[in-house]
């Protein structure tokens, strides 16, 4: 391998499930030792990309390489370089935590004693030492998830692929997972992280790619993405969804961009540059029309605003998923 090989190099990757284009020409480059966030709503194609990189799914067009190794032609090497932790905790309920990790260690081609040592190490780091010799069936959801993360680490992967690692976790466990990921990155591991949570990407990722409908719609650091939103964001909440459109129309022309409507939250956001002046103009217009928002505020832009501005819907929008995902969530196109 050359020193210059990126950890991940994806060029024009496309995957179709029948008529549904899960990925439609995605490009992505991840530098070694960084955390790359992959952000998008349900059904955007995040998991499909993860499955391509983890050699679980063959792409129809384009190329994908991990540390210079092609995921199709050099799949065995790629598998030895990566660790994968999925949305569903893929651990074996009838085995103990330790047995699970030792088994994975053996399958990473480690010798028995080394597999044992690394399993113990991973259990220790994830705070599972006490539960190590209990059968996983009795674990809580958070413990299972930590064990799944542990299983992805026993091979000491250079690239750790985490597919929504904290979805459904309680805040405490979520924080634990976050600090754990930070430690790994300090140790030199490259992390590719998919998430629906903007704060997660904001907290962990140095670079973010936003995908929607199988396409990359934005790419940059969290700071760059937020800078697109102007210096401040004016946010209105309305009690009545019927007035959303009328309110947005009224606000057009104020601020530095178009108002975005998030119908599910009955919310309108507007990027502004002159916070106080724009706020006063907005209040005057709404007053003329007799519109009284239930909440009105001026704040720093978040990635959520970026997302809303880019996709026209918030991250919490329930989208109809592509047909292929409904029946077989494990098959590939889930997100």
């Amino acid at each position: 391998m050359t020193a210059a090989a990126p950890a991940v190099e994806v060029e024009g990757v496309a995957v179709a499930f029948g008529e549904t284009k899960a990925l439609d020409g995605v490009d992505l480059t991840v530098a070694p030792g960084t955390v790359q966030g992959l952000l998008g709503p349900n059904g955007a194609g995040k998991t499909t990309l993860v499955r391509v990189l983890a050699t679980l799914l063959r792409h129809d067009a384009g190329s994908a390489r991990v540390f210079g190794c092609d995921v199709v032609r050099d799949a065995t090497r790629v598998r030895a370089l990566i660790g994968l932790a999925g949305q569903y905790a893929a651990v074996d309920g009838t085995l103990t935590g330790r047995e699970n990790l030792e088994m994975v260690g053996r399958l990473y081609r480690l010798r028995g004693p080394e597999a044992k040592r690394r399993a113990a190490e991973a259990l220790e780091r994830l705070g599972l030492t006490e539960a190590a010799d209990r059968v996983v069936r009795g674990y809580s959801g958070g413990m299972r998830r930590r064990l799944d993360l542990g299983a992805s680490l026993v091979g000491r992967p250079r690239l750790l692929i985490l597919d929504e690692p904290t979805t459904g976790l309680d805040p405490q466990t979520r924080n634990d997972v976050w600090s754990f990921i930070r430690e790994l990155v300090e140790g030199g591991t490259t992390v590719l992280l998919t998430t629906q949570y903007l704060d997660e990407a904001d907290n962990l990722a140095g670079h973010i790619v936003v995908i929607d409908n199988g396409k990359v719609i934005a790419n940059g650091t969290p700071r760059e993405l937020k800078a697109r939103m102007g210096s401040d964001v004016l946010e209105l909440h309305l009690a009545d969804a019927a007035t959303l459109q009328r309110t947005a129309d009224a606000l057009r022309g104020i601020g530095s961009g178009e108002p975005s409507i998030d119908a599910s939250d009955r919310r309108i956001t507007l990027p502004v540059h002159q916070g106080a002046a724009d706020l006063m103009s907005a209040v005057r217009r709404l007053d003329e029309l007799g519109i009284v928002p239930s909440d009105l505020s001026l704040r720093q832009p978040s990635l959520d605003d970026v997302f809303l501005a880019l996709t026209g819907h918030g991250t919490a929008v329930e989208e109809p998923e592509p047909a292929v995902t409904g029946r077989r969530p494990r098959r590939g196109a889930a997100t």
Binding site: P32, C69, L81, G93, L95, A151
Partner: protein
Amino acid sequence: MSAPGQDALPPARLPVSAVFTDAVVIARRNLLMILRTPQLLVFSTIQPVMFVLLFRYVFGGAIHVPGTNYANFLLPGVFVQTVVFGGTAAAVALASDLNAGIIDRFRSLPMARSAVLAGRTAADAVRNVFVIALMVIVGYAVGFRFEGGFVDAVGAMAIALLFGYTFSWFFALIGLLVRNPETAQVAGFVPLFPLVFASSIFVPTQSMPSWLRAFAEHQPISKVATAVRGLCLGTATTSEVVVALLWIVGMLIVFAPLATWRYRKG
């Protein structure tokens, strides 16, 4: 647990021994699962025991078999039936692993691609050894005896186990195709019922109508049951054994690559 040196790439190919060593890891896992869900083992062995009791004592009196007593006719058939029905567990287990994401984990590891199925079927074969041993004990309790020599008896067990092994591959394929544990259970039994009951396992085929008899005498389960029975009674002909072995090898050549292909495809 820091990342390894950035200079060296892992080997591009797995060692040739990987299929074997990985299959042992997987087989060990599957055997642990069997040991830790004893209720599954208990119920899957109660079923053939009930078949033995039912046929030996309820139907057996009305069934006349040429040349031997009914227990000697029935038990070799039950050996075959037991390993064949037992194979459905492979379909259910693989479908469960697929659903739980465990197969995805295995497929993302640098392990031999055929090892998951090889380990699964090997574990089933080990389980079948115990189940068959139990059935021999039950058989001796209801009047069955090995009438041939020791070599014949071992040969009978070996053929039954090999046949069970080929069926494990068939059921592995079913499990990978249907992908749902409950469906796998049912889907496995559908092709089995006509094969097991329209056969020479429980009754001689002479009493069946001619069209059914033609099927029952030539289908693989009957052929294998005939060879196992012949070896148990010490009356087996070479051609009976050869035909059974040809079916076993033939089915293995078809189903093992098909199941492996389906597994690779994901």
